[in-house]
Symmetry: C2
Subunit: 164 residues, 2 copies
């Protein structure tokens, strides 16, 4: 079981976007440049974040991306589900309805014990991701990294605050 690489990229881009002070839109190339991400691949994931209402996009010469809501109201689960969807990782193919001892479909209206355990674990996973917001991630960043993010977003061609 593997999460797509887009999850890592999307989470870090949202964290970076939480550092725009005036809510200005950030061009895709500025986001990609901060983390050295391939611009074209990143586009796909940013689109998914917009579609899910995590980011808002504006077009035009000063266009780009910004968080669609406050950092405190965007959870890591919102970001993960924007990229991966909300379908549980376990796919039940109802094998109890197959084979020599098959049960009729009308006896299988509720999930079997195996599927239920898997769905419960999936819920625990999502609950855990729902418990952390982009604001929480930002709060945990060292101060110098917050300063560097702000400087980069303001002017990617300008100097960055030096690391201690």
């Amino acid at each position: 079981m593997k999460l797509s690489q887009g999850v890592e990229w999307a989470a870090h881009c949202c964290l970076l976007l939480a550092h725009t002070e005036d809510g200005a839109a950030v061009p895709r190339t500025t986001l990609a440049g901060y983390y050295g991400l391939p611009d074209a691949y990143l586009a796909k994931h940013l689109k998914s974040l917009v579609r899910s209402g995590v980011l808002a996009a504006t077009s035009g010469p000063r266009g780009g991306f910004r968080l669609a809501r406050t950092p405190g109201s965007i959870t890591v689960l919102d970001i993960v589900e924007a990229i991966e969807g909300s379908t549980p990782a376990f796919v039940c193919t109802e094998i109890r309805q197959r084979g020599a001892c098959a049960l009729a479909a009308e006896r299988c209206e509720r999930p079997c014990g195996v599927a239920q355990v898997m769905y419960d674990a999936d819920r625990a996973w999502r609950d855990s991701l729902r418990g952390v917001t982009v604001a929480d991630l930002k709060d945990k960043l060292p101060d110098i990294l917050r300063k560097r993010a702000r400087a980069w977003l303001k002017d990617p061609s300008g100097p960055l605050p030096a690391l201690a």
Copy 2:
């Protein structure tokens, strides 16, 4: 993110094997027949369960598979990890060490905030799966299904107790 189909098959086979009364080995075809599973594909997953110490295999004319431990000491996590491995679903590629604002590796000895949230959620998922054993799954089966499983394991060509 998707779990492989082998997880469903493996969990149901372990549940079925919890119904052997004398710990006798069950041929692979008997396991496959109960759920209508493709015999050859199932072999691969049974092998993984043996490699992980969930099942024990015996060869020869009366050979087959049995649980390697008591049903109460085999968790659903044991089964899932036998098939999927124990590597977290989130793969961190350390993008903070790339791009225009790259951090040196020696500043990245601890996981970043994003990776930590993902690892915590992974742990919550595994903890949930660890909380349920094969014995728990068996206990939740309706009595008639337990009877049918026992009858099938004893003699797959014999009659099965009728469903009410």
